[in-house]
Structure formats: structure tokens, C-alpha cells
């Protein structure tokens, strides 16, 4: 069975640096458990000389010598292992501080209850754009992440690529990721953040640099809704526009995810549902049923409006 969040495999430079240490301490730990539990079992069950006849009826009592040797040897060896681990830890720590080479791309990720906002920086203001829950990066290149807490504390974690860094309101944390090969790497919020902490996943999608550039250009472009979804656009504007932005339309809300290119994403509701027309309709109609307690309100609307909004969203490729 696949376990996309396991961290005993690695697909990125940062995770690569950490993995040998993780495996090392894991192996040390297993060996220590085996040795000490083996000693314990031997101590309990080892054969002992038969008691002398005529021993004190109240029970034998004695104070044999030699017990302290266990403590000296055991603690001595333990200390050596601990010190060695500490030194190796320091070295790894120094290694992972900065990427192997300067990161060209910076992405600002903000943790929200319960979704992720990703803002792609660029020197050209017109090329700055925002997306959500699916973060594309160029494979083989280090990418710098600025992590911000939007409301409460969350933690940004893509185990195949790197360990966790918290997103904390009032401070900016910096980390970096690098995916060696193209692929989809699952991420997950790992700091408890309320009712839907469980459903706060995201995906890091590593593309070949050329494909990444193509994706980026597409994301920069605003939406261009055609006239045949005018009814859907207007329903979207009144029902959803206060919270959601679709660039190129008057809908400019900043509360929920930017939906300008929502159909380019593989999932909706922060990895909760696959992005299929059926799930999309279900999510719009009944967000509280899908993800109880989340901040998207249950809005009463006619079936016609619902379909129109869905149809409109499906044009946002």
C-alpha cells in the first residue's frame, strides 16, 4: 500500500540530507532496544546457583559484588553513542540551513484554517500571482519558501522533500525545498489548528522546468470567461465573490482561495476531494457536510444557480 507521507524515503535534496540521520538513529534505537531488552531477559531468566541448604527461612538476602560494572559499562557506551549522535546532528543541521545553490524562485505560503495560499513572487509586479493548495515548483531547482500564519499556527510539511516548518502569525519563517524529479508530493498541516486540521492537505507538484514555466504563464493570465457562462459568472459574483477572487472578473474576495485557475488543480477543499464535476457540485452545495466546521458557508441557492456556478468554474482552466 502506498504511503505518500512516509518519511523513510526521500525525493529531494533537503530530505536527502536528513534521511541518513533518521535511518541512523532509528537503527541505533532498534539495536539499543534489542541489547537492553536482551540483557533484561537474561538478568531475569539466567540460571542461578542452587541455594545453600539451611538458608534463612525468612528468605535469602545478600549483597553480591559487581553490579556497578553494568552501570559503568552501560552508561559509558551509551554516552559515547549519544555524543556521536549529537555531533552528527550538528553537522546535518549546518548542512540543511541553506540550499546547495541560490534559490531563484520564492513562494510565500500562508496557512489558513483550513487551506493553503501560495503567492509566487516575481521582480515584475504583473507576474505576481496567487493560487491555493497545489504548489508547482520546477524540478531539480531549490525553491525558497516564506511561511506566514494567516490566522492560527499551522505547520508546512512535505515529508518526501523536507521536514516541518511552522507558519506562525506575526512572524515569517524561511525554508527551502528541492525536488529531484518531477512528481506529485503530498503535504499536510501538522500543527493542530482546529476542527478541520485533518483535512488540510496540499500538493507540491514538481514539473520539468519548461513545463513549470508554461504553468506559470498560464497562472499569471487572468480568467477570460466567455459570454455563454455569463449567468454563472453573475451568480458566482453575488454568491461567492465576497470571499473568492477570480482575476479578470469583478469577484475579488480575499477570504477564501483564489479560484482564477481552479480547474488546473487536482483536488478541492485542501486535498479533501478529487476535482471532478460531481465533487465540485457537492462541495459548493454542501461544504459543511463535506468538511464540517470549515469557514465556507452553506449558501441556499437554486439548482439552476448551482449548475450555472459549476459550469462557470469549469471554464477556469
Amino acid at each position: 500500500m502506498s504511503a505518500p507521507l512516509n518519511y523513510l524515503t526521500s525525493h529531494g535534496a533537503r530530505a536527502d540530507m536528513i534521511l541518513p540521520l533518521t535511518r541512523g538513529v532509528l537503527i541505533i534505537s532498534i539495536i539499543v532496544i534489542l541489547i537492553v531488552c536482551g540483557l533484561l531477559a537474561a538478568a531475569i531468566f539466567r540460571r542461578r546457583p542452587v541455594e545453600a541448604p539451611g538458608a534463612d527461612p525468612r528468605g535469602l538476602l545478600f549483597r553480591p559484588r559487581g553490579g556497578l560494572t553494568f552501570v559503568y559499562v552501560g552508561v559509558g557506551i551509551s554516552t559515547l553513542v549519544l555524543v556521536a549522535t549529537t555531533i552528527r546532528t550538528m553537522k546535518t543541521l549546518a548542512d540543511v540551513v541553506s540550499p546547495p545553490r541560490e534559490a531563484k524562485l520564492t513562494i510565500e505560503v500562508t496557512g489558513h484554517q483550513w487551506w493553503w495560499e501560495a503567492r509566487y513572487f516575481s521582480e515584475k509586479p504583473a507576474e505576481i500571482f496567487t493560487t491555493a493548495n497545489e504548489i508547482h515548483i520546477p524540478a531539480g531547482e531549490p525553491v525558497r519558501f516564506k511561511l506566514i500564519g494567516g490566522d492560527v499556527i499551522h505547520s508546512f510539511w512535505v515529508p518526501a522533500l523536507a521536514g516541518k516548518t511552522d507558519t506562525i502569525p506575526g512572524q515569517t519563517n524561511i525554508t527551502w525545498l528541492q525536488a529531484e524529479r518531477p512528481g506529485v508530493y503530498r503535504g499536510q498541516c501538522t500543527e493542530y489548528c482546529g476542527k478541520q486540521h485533518a483535512n488540510m492537505a496540499f500538493f507540491v507538484v514538481a514539473d520539468e522546468p519548461a513545463r513549470f514555466e508554461e504553468w506559470r504563464q498560464k497562472q499569471i493570465a487572468p480568467a477570460a470567461p466567455s459570454a455563454d457562462v455569463a449567468q454563472g459568472l453573475s451568480a458566482f459574483q453575488t454568491r461567492c465573490g465576497a470571499c473568492h477572487t477570480v482575476r479578470g472578473t469583478p469577484a475579488g474576495g480575499k477570504v477564501g482561495p483564489d479560484l482564477t485557475h481552479v480547474m488546473s488543480r487536482g483536488t478541492i477543499a485542501a486535498g479533501t476531494l478529487p476535482n471532478t464535476p460531481g465533487h465540485l457540485t457537492g462541495w459548493i452545495a454542501n461544504p459543511q457536510g463535506v468538511k464540517p466546521g470549515n469557514h465556507m458557508p452553506q449558501i441556499d441557492m437554486s439548482g439552476a444557480d448551482l449548475n450555472a456556478i459549476r459550469t462557470f468554474l469549469q471554464t477556469l482552466g
Binding site: 512516509n6 552501570v71 543541521l93
Partner: protein, 658 residues
């Protein structure tokens, strides 16, 4: 000063006898009826109350855990709503960590300390009674939220800003904040009592190198509590102000610092974790020698490692915050300390193994639990060592690996020794044995159930399962491991129920146990089971670590005197001794039953209920009751005990307080 001589008594040295015992019994017995129930200051009564109450919270917390495990047994289940899940996992943690783990050890120490130390009570018996009432009322206060449907829902660690009113508008967090400050007062006064008791009321001759390890454990925990509890009480008070009176401490938009919460919380909570295991480790250190028929290997090293653990433990709190974006320098320092803290633990583990190796184990139920604890301690210890390494921790933290780790530590090093201690000291407390065969079955059910439940959590953790999620999808590879965990949890629960069954059966028809059923060497085994209200007819004089063994170990043959000693029978009297060498220093006049602690605790409860409702009259009423109770409590009435001005009055009159 010269005038002191008029206030001295040259105590009679007598041989224990029935007439004296009878007189002491009358003086020390708790009064019958409601006065005795509300006013008792007997450490044994208070200790039993602590243990029973904490086990009730353990049961409740256990049922909560089982409900959580049903919800997590399979992916995408809807047994609980997210909010119900969050309240339940929070209450599970709060119940186990705060309302069970420390109080149960406080209960044992309360019951056992004076017996181990050769005293008739703890140094501050009314403070002791107060600590119990405060514990009970604060526990009820926190649980009141549960029955009102507004239980705390932000985990035991209660991170801000999620705990701020903006994100958490109900009264849930107010209950928790105030309840924690409230409970903190109980733990503080109880700790002060333990520290003063250890300093003042040991048997003559029980110099600091002769103190049982359990006493070292509780003493170390108590000192730590006194230093770190203010941190968490302060944090919760600041949060209460933020939530109710508009202060800005944790409001990031006003310059407040969410991380200040984490620092204050973990400055407290990490030493607290040591505080709830060190006394239990002491139980193992004192219990193993009895069942291995030899003194503990490396007494001095084990005692020192107890203190060293806590000393280093003050410096590791940030290892709960490695992912918060700390500076590399801080990361390196705290990582190093967090790894090195394993050294003192290794001392204890190897000392225990050496004790078993060189001894002759007697396979009692208690021995099973103590030996089983060593295995669990090792597993919990090495997983802790792994999280100490920062880069590794960036992966491990907040996954089920840590859930596995902390349960190995808390159940392994707290619950297993405590159950072992119940098997060992139950005969002392009740005069009856627990059933040994049931006891061994009890151990194996708990041991197998525990490992079945918690070992797979390591694996679901390594597979990336985050903590505190109310459900998980089917396609992430955690389903099978969670099912095994849930099955193990129920098996473990059956094991715990078997303990209660054994207690219920044995209370009615357990085998009769004499004064010293296991042939133990320390002072509690020198007195009848159950102990009389005054504990010791004559106060013992101690010349070695094992006064009851010294003849057979050639330690100090015959030099400890248990049957002949100070009678101290002029009212409730006890011997005060010097701090290091335990030389007799003063005859302490101990208090009688008193309503003051109960009244004070009621007043304190009213203050906290008033704070919950932001009611100034409520707070004022509580403060007045508390103040009056304190005034009456402290009213000096001791002049009649023999000062120059009252020389013709008998020197043993009752102190005239409530």
C-alpha cells in the same frame, strides 16, 4: 537563647507497648462522622483519597481514549464530529497528564512518605488536606465544562492564537485556563509540603544517604513543580486576561507573541513530564530490591541521576518547538541537551538490570510490572532520543511517532510502576494480599495490549500520520496499523479492568498479610498492616538504608532501633530533624482535624467560578471566605504549649484553631 531552656522537653525513651499505643491511637485517630470526613489531616486518608480520585479520572480518560480509538479504527469514520473529537482528545490528555499522572503519585507519596521516613504525618498536614480538596474541586471544575458541552478543545498544550477568543469564542478555553491555575495551586502547596517534610521530618539518623529513592523522586519533582508551575499558571492567566479583559499578550496583530505561550507552556510542561515519572521510577528502585533479595545497585548514582535528570530537564523545553523557526545556535544547543539528558536515564536502567542480574528474582505480580516497565522505558527512551536530534525531529514531530513515544513514557514509566506499586503496597494499606495469579494475568493483558496498541503507532507515525486528526483518508496507508492499535487499546483496557476486579475481590476475601509480607527492608514494613493512625508507637532511629535487613546484610547490625525510641505522646507530637544528618532538632506539635482547609478550598472554588463568569461579587465572596479561613487557620494558639508566660499550663494542649 537562654530562655529556650524553659521551652524544652526531654522526651522519654520507651519500649513500644500496648498502653502507649492505645493512648496514641486516641490522640491521632481521625474523628468519626462529618468532622472527620471534611477535617481529616491524616496523610494515609488523604493519600487514599488522592489515589482513588486519580483512578476515577484515569478511568474517564481511558473511556475517552477508547471512543477516540473507535473513531480512528478505520478511515473516514463518522462516529464523532470533528469538534467532539477535539474535545475528547483534549480531555483525554488533560485527564491523564494533570488529573491522573501527578495526583496518583502524590497519593502514593502522601500515603508512603511518613511510613518510609519513620514519621507520624507529613510536616504540614493541613496544607496536605488543602491540596487534596483543591485537586478534587479543580478536577470537577474542569470536568464541569465537559458536562456543559464546552470542554477544552485545543489540546493539553492549548496553543494560541487558536485558543484566543477570536478563534475559540466559547467558554471552553476559559474553563481550561482557570482550571489549570486552580490545579496549579493544589500541586504547589502539595509540593511545598513534600519538600518541607523531606527536610524536616525524617527519622532520627536517616541522613540524606539513607533516604528511599521514592522520596528522592518525589522530592525532586516537588522542587521542580515549585519552580515551573508559575510559568504555566502565568501563561493561562495571561490568556484568561486576553480572552476576557482585552489584553494583548498573545495577539499577533498588536505585537503579542504566539511563541511566548509556547515558551511559558513548555518551560513548565517538559519538567512536568519528568515530575510525573521520577517518583514512579523511585517505586521501581525501591521495589526491585525487595523482589530481587538484594539492595539496589548504585543507590548513590541512582539518587544523583534523579536530580540530574531534573536539572538538565529545565534546559530542554524548546525541543517541543524545533519547527517554529528558531535560530540555528539555539537549535544546536537544545538538541545537544535533549540528547544528553538520556545519560541519567541510562544510569537508572542499568542499575535496575544489574539489581535483577545479581539478585534472585521472586516472580511476584509486582515484579512483573517493575521488570516490564524497564522494557517499556527503554523503548520510550530511545524514541525520545530520536526526537532530540533536530533534523530528525523536523520529520518526526507532530506525527504518531511522538504519540507512541509519549505513551511509552507515560504509561510505561507511570502506569506500570503504579500498578506494580499497588500490588506491592496493597497488603500494607489493607492488610490483605491482592490475588497473585490474577495479578500476573493482569500484567500480561496490560503488557501485550499496551504494545499491540502503541507499538504500531511508531509505524503509522513513520508513514506520516499526523497527530490530532479526527479522521484520515483510505489511500495513505495507515488503515491497517490503526485497526491494530484500536484492538490493542481495548485489550489494554480489559487488563486495567482486571486490576479493578482484583482489588474488589481481594478487599473482600484477600489472603491475610502480616506486617511484612514481602520481607522488605524499609520502615513501612516494620509497622502493622494496615498501619495504625499514629504509624509508629515509638519513633524509630535509623542506622542504615534497610533497617529491617541490616542484621542479615551486616550493614549496621542492631544499630537501628525500631522498638525502643521516643514516645512523644503529649498531644500530636512528632520529631523534627536536621536537614542533612537528621539529628533530632525539635519536637513538632502537629495539628488536629480542621475544617479550615476544606473551607479555604471552597472559597477558592468560588473565586474561580466568579472569574469564569467575570463576576466581581463572586470573586469577592470567594476571597472573603478564603481570607477568613486562612486567618482562623493561622491564628496563633500555641502559647499554651509551654512558653514562659504560660509555664503552668500543660505542654500538650490542643492548638486552638478551627
Amino acid at each position: 537563647m537562654a530562655r529556650h531552656t524553659q521551652l524544652t522537653q526531654t522526651p522519654a525513651i520507651v519500649t513500644a507497648n500496648a498502653e502507649l499505643a492505645e493512648r496514641l491511637h486516641k490522640v491521632w485517630e481521625t474523628e468519626p462522622g462529618i468532622k472527620g470526613f471534611l477535617g481529616t489531616v491524616d496523610h494515609k486518608e488523604i493519600g487514599i483519597r488522592y489515589i482513588v480520585t486519580s483512578f476515577i479520572f484515569l478511568l474517564i480518560g481511558g473511556v475517552e481514549a477508547l471512543i477516540l480509538r473507535v473513531q480512528l479504527a478505520q478511515p473516514d469514520l463518522h462516529v464523532l464530529s470533528p469538534e467532539q473529537y477535539n474535545q475528547l482528545f483534549t480531555m483525554h490528555g488533560v485527564s491523564m497528564i494533570f488529573l491522573y499522572a501527578m495526583p496518583v503519585l502524590t497519593g502514593f507519596s502522601n500515603y508512603l512518605w511518613p511510613l518510609l521516613l519513620g514519621a507520624r504525618d507529613t510536616a504540614l498536614p493541613r496544607v496536605n488536606a488543602l491540596s487534596y480538596w483543591l485537586y478534587l474541586f479543580s478536577g470537577l471544575f474542569i470536568y464541569a465544562s465537559f458536562f456543559m458541552g464546552h470542554a477544552p478543545n485545543d489540546g493539553w498544550f492549548n496553543y494560541v492564537p487558536y485558543a484566543n477568543r477570536q478563534y475559540n469564542p466559547g467558554p471552553n478555553i476559559d474553563f481550561y485556563s482557570l482550571g489549570m491555575i486552580f490545579l496549579g495551586i493544589s500541586t504547589t502547596v502539595s509540593s511545598a509540603n513534600f519538600v518541607v517534610t523531606a527536610m524536616r521530618t525524617r527519622a532520627a539518623g536517616m541522613s540524606i544517604n539513607r533516604i528511599p529513592i521514592l522520596v528522592w523522586g518525589t522530592l525532586t519533582s516537588s522542587v521542580a513543580n515549585l519552580i515551573v508551575i508559575p510559568a504555566v499558571s502565568l501563561a493561562f492567566f495571561l490568556l484568561y486576561l486576553d480572552r476576557n479583559y482585552g489584553t494583548k499578550f498573545f495577539q499577533p496583530q498588536s505585537g503579542g507573541q504566539p511563541l511566548l505561550w509556547q515558551h511559558l507552556f513548555w518551560i513548565f510542561a517538559h519538567p512536568w513530564v519528568y515530575a510525573i515519572v521520577l517518583p514512579a521510577m523511585g517505586m521501581v528502585s525501591d521495589g526491585l530490591p525487595i523482589f530481587c533479595r538484594r539492595p539496589l545497585v548504585g543507590y548513590t548514582l541512582v539518587a544523583l541521576s534523579t536530580m540530574a535528570t531534573m536539572a538538565i530537564g529545565f534546559g530542554v523545553w524548546t525541543h517541543h518547538m524545533f519547527a517554529t523557526g528558531m535560530s540555528d545556535l539555539a537549535l544546536s544547543f537544545f538538541s545537544g541537551v535533549s540528547i544528553i539528558i538520556a545519560v541519567p536515564s541510562a544510569v537508572a536502567v542499568f542499575a535496575w538490570i544489574a539489581t535483577i542480574w545479581t539478585g534472585r528474582p521472586v516472580f511476584t505480580a509486582a515484579f512483573h510490572f517493575f521488570a516490564g516497565m524497564i522494557a517499556l522505558f527503554v523503548i520510550g527512551g530511545v524514541s525520545g532520543f530520536m526526537t532530540g536530534s533536530v533534523p530528525v525531529d523536523w520529520q518526526l514531530t507532530d506525527t504518531y511517532f511522538v504519540v507512541a513515544h509519549l505513551h511509552y513514557v507515560l504509561i510505561g514509566i507511570n502506569v506500570f510502576p503504579v500498578v506494580g506499586a499497588i500490588y506491592m503496597w496493597f497488603p500494607k494499606v489493607t492488610g490483605k494480599f491482592l490475588d497473585e495469579r490474577l495479578g500476573k494475568l493482569n500484567f500480561w493483558l496490560m503488557f501485550v495490549g499496551f504494545n499491540l496498541a502503541f507499538f504500531p503507532m511508531h509505524i503509522s507515525g513513520l508513514l506520516g500520520m499526523p497527530r490530532r486528526i479526527y479522521t484520515y483518508p483510505h489511500d495513505v496507508g495507515w488503515s491497517a496499523w490503526n485497526l491494530i492499535t484500536s484492538i490493542g487499546a481495548f485489550l489494554f483496557a480489559i487488563g486495567v479492568l482486571l486490576l479493578f476486579h482484583n482489588i474488589a475481590v481481594s478487599l473482600r476475601r484477600g489472603k491475610h498479610a502480616g506486617a511484612n509480607p514481602w520481607d522488605g527492608g524499609t520502615l513501612e514494613w516494620a509497622i502493622p498492616s494496615p498501619p495504625p493512625p499514629y504509624n509508629f508507637v515509638v519513633l524509630p532511629t535509623v542506622a542504615s538504608r534497610h533497617p529491617l535487613w541490616e542484621d542479615r546484610l551486616d550493614d549496621a547490625p542492631g544499630r537501628s532501633r525500631l522498638d525502643t525510641g521516643l514516645a512523644l505522646d503529649k498531644g500530636r507530637q512528632m520529631l523534627g530533624t536536621s536537614v542533612v544528618d537528621a539529628e533530632p532538632a525539635v519536637i513538632l506539635q502537629m495539628p488536629f482535624d480542621s475544617y479550615a482547609p476544606f473551607t479555604l478550598a471552597v472559597g477558592t472554588t468560588i473565586i474561580f467560578v466568579g472569574m469564569l463568569y467575570r463576576s466581581w461579587p463572586g470573586m469577592a465572596a470567594g476571597a472573603i471566605i478564603t481570607g477568613i479561613a486562612l486567618l482562623l487557620w493561622l491564628w496563633p494558639g500555641r502559647l499554651r504549649e509551654g512558653s514562659p508566660e504560660a509555664a503552668n499550663e500543660p505542654p500538650f494542649a490542643e492548638p486552638d484553631h478551627v
